[in-house]
């Protein structure tokens, strides 16, 4: 079955990245897929060529989780982990996240929210970084003030031969 759901990546305020995506499955299955290690290992793999040899989840408030990814070509590894701060089954998880070799300062806080409607589940993942610099470091300052969305539109324009919509986009601003 074709899944044509789109992933939306936006920013909120100065320090957050928000991702939204619909899944064609009830909430309890999506929650399982996010919290049962044997399921998480099947999809949370990152870029092509990486696997997830370690996925440990102690799903309780104060419990820890640990993920390790490995690039199969050269065996290099990347790990991260954190602690669960808030858990509402099938609905909401708040957890800290720190990478073993952090490329941004401080600890981030991730919030996962699942909302079901008509058998479909909307997943909203928010990551709150400690500073604006950390957040923008993640995105290389690209996402702020909707530039990412602008870039998407521009990419579409550039991709379409003749760029027929150009004058429309200009307006008299």
């Amino acid at each position: 079955m074709a899944n044509l759901e789109t992933l939306k990546v936006t920013t909120k305020g100065d320090r957050e990245i928000v991702m939204t995506r619909d899944f064609n499955a009830p909430r309890r299955l999506v929650f399982d897929a996010f919290t049962k290690p044997e399921l998480v290992k099947q999809w949370l793999l990152g870029p092509p060529g990486w696997s997830m040899p370690v996925c440990e989840i102690d799903l309780k408030v104060g419990g820890a989780y640990r993920y390790v990814w490995r690039r199969d070509s050269d065996g290099s590894e990347m790990g991260m982990g954190g602690v669960y701060r808030e858990i509402v089954l099938q609905e909401r998880i708040v957890s800290t996240e720190v990478f073993d070799k952090p490329w941004y300062p401080g600890e981030a806080v991730g919030t996962l929210v699942l909302a079901e409607r008509g058998g479909k589940t909307t997943v909203t993942q928010t990551v709150l970084y400690q500073s604006r610099e950390a957040r923008d470091g993640i995105l290389k300052s690209g996402m702020e003030s909707g530039v990412a969305a602008s870039y998407d539109r521009l990419a579409q324009l550039l991709a379409s031969p003749g760029t027929a919509g150009m004058e429309k986009g200009v307006g008299k601003s």
């Binding site: 300052s141 870039y151 150009m166």
Partner: protein, 136 residues
């Protein structure tokens, strides 16, 4: 300029709708300042100011024709900027596509488990179907 400075310049240049429209126009081929000013209801100096920002970001360069001094699009900064932006999105898009497949599988497993419980009725339906075919 470091790679991150260049990205800052690129994203700053892309943040303005007129500049994006200029780039979209240049994507169809090089154009002089006058040609660029035409559709924008803007003066040439105003367009020149935007072009300067785009040139500084390395998005636009000047052609050889000394008379027209046509501007043209430079592709390299685009690919750098899009790489950074797309990396994050692409990784997650890939993850989520795998999750789609996994969820489909979980749904199938679930309905199979349910059918197993209902076992006998399924066999009956099958037999009924065959019986009807034989009769026709």
């Amino acid at each position: 300029m470091t790679s991150s400075d260049r990205l800052d310049a690129t994203f700053h240049a892309l943040a303005d709708p007129t500049r994006r429209a200029i780039l979209a126009r240049l994507a169809t081929g090089e154009a002089s300042v006058m040609e660029l000013a035409e559709p924008f209801a803007m003066t040439q100096p105003a367009i020149s100011k935007h072009l300067k920002v785009l040139e500084r970001a390395g998005l636009v360069s000047r052609g050889r024709d000394a008379q027209r001094r046509p501007r043209r699009l430079e592709a390299k900064p685009f690919s750098e900027a899009s790489e950074w932006l797309e990396k994050y999105r692409r990784i997650w898009a890939g993850n989520f596509q795998r999750l789609d497949a996994l969820l489909d599988q979980l749904k199938v497993n679930e309905s199979k488990a349910k059918e197993k419980k209902r076992g006998p009725s399924k066999r009956y339906v099958k037999g009924d179907h065959r019986w009807r075919i034989l009769k026709r």
